[in-house]
């Protein structure tokens, strides 16, 4: 299973890293995750530059493609050369977005039905002809939108469960919950596999 997170300049840090972190806690055979971009590295909206694992063209070969958010999505949707490099296929791939990443899905014509986005990109998404609903996660077939950073759990959870199974999803998501609020020392005592942190 190959997963791609798509980043770009001026991405929102947490909307790349929360998905990345959750996906990296998945214990499943042949599971790989990479961050793709149009350049060798991209800078976040807070100024952190991170290296990419590969170029955009690799996304078309992934089982799941997740778009990050950020003020940079506004430049991406105006850049036809960038968009042409994607060539995604929602009949064969799972495709999703965090927050204003929904603008990219809309521009690619991938949103068929209601969708969600961050409050500050709601008007822009409506202007692109999308019915925006106030929900953390909206799925239509193989395409889903999530909004509000911590809703990455729902988006990543859907991807993991679809590509593996419910138990694998639950194990991955449990690992990031607060101790005493979902996660407990009893799990460790009982030998449940946790990524050491």
């Amino acid at each position: 299973m190959k997963l791609s997170i798509v980043a770009f300049d001026n991405f929102t840090d947490i909307d790349v890293f929360l998905m990345w972190d959750i996906f990296n806690r998945v214990d499943a055979p042949n599971w790989s995750v990479e961050i793709l971009g149009s350049q060798d590295s991209h800078i976040s909206s807070t100024g952190i530059r991170i290296p990419m694992h590969g170029q955009l063209e690799r996304a078309r070969h992934s089982d799941a493609v997740l778009f990050a958010s950020g003020i940079g999505t506004r430049a991406v949707i105006k850049d036809q050369a960038y968009l042409d490099r994607l060539q995604l296929d929602p009949t064969k791939q799972l495709i999703g977005s965090m927050c204003s990443g929904s603008l990219i899905l809309a521009k690619l014509g991938l949103i068929q039905g209601p969708a969600t986005t961050y409050p500050t990109s709601r008007r822009e998404l409506i202007a692109m002809g999308v019915e925006v609903v106030e929900r953390p996660f909206v799925r239509n077939g193989n395409v889903a939108t999530a909004a509000g950073c911590l809703a990455a759990q729902y988006l990543a959870g859907w991807i993991i469960e679809t590509l593996t199974d419910e138990a694998t999803k639950e194990r991955a998501l449990l690992q990031i919950q607060p101790v005493g609020e979902g996660q407990s020392y009893a799990a460790d005592e009982a030998g449940v596999a946790l990524t050491a942190v």
Copy 2:
């Protein structure tokens, strides 16, 4: 107000980036956040190399110092030269840790009373003489420990409220909540300032 997040090789991605993201959503005068390390860049446990904003010695001049977690904490606590570069003062600074960052606080002699940590570092923290309690956030005066990635909200929230006020903390934390689950489009309609993402 100056805040420092301390990273090192083999840090847990989300335990740097969730605090970093929340702190960067704070709207307060003279508010600055930086990520410090012992080198110009550090690599996460999943292989993402990020640049540092400065060296460890700057932490002693910060109002708040937060230690990230990760398997790399085990090397840090054995590196006396690294630890000697910190020179923190809990009578003048707020000091905190995520997950196994608690091992560094313990090694520095900063934990006076119960503390929390991630399940996979619980035995190590107990072996250092600390009473470990199964809670997401434990504070003793100016020193606090948090555990389970999403408990970064409690640690960052304590820091923000102590250095600014409760309303500023609430505004910062609200921005990362899922749409429809805490965060709503009504806030945007009402003109509440949100960082565009």
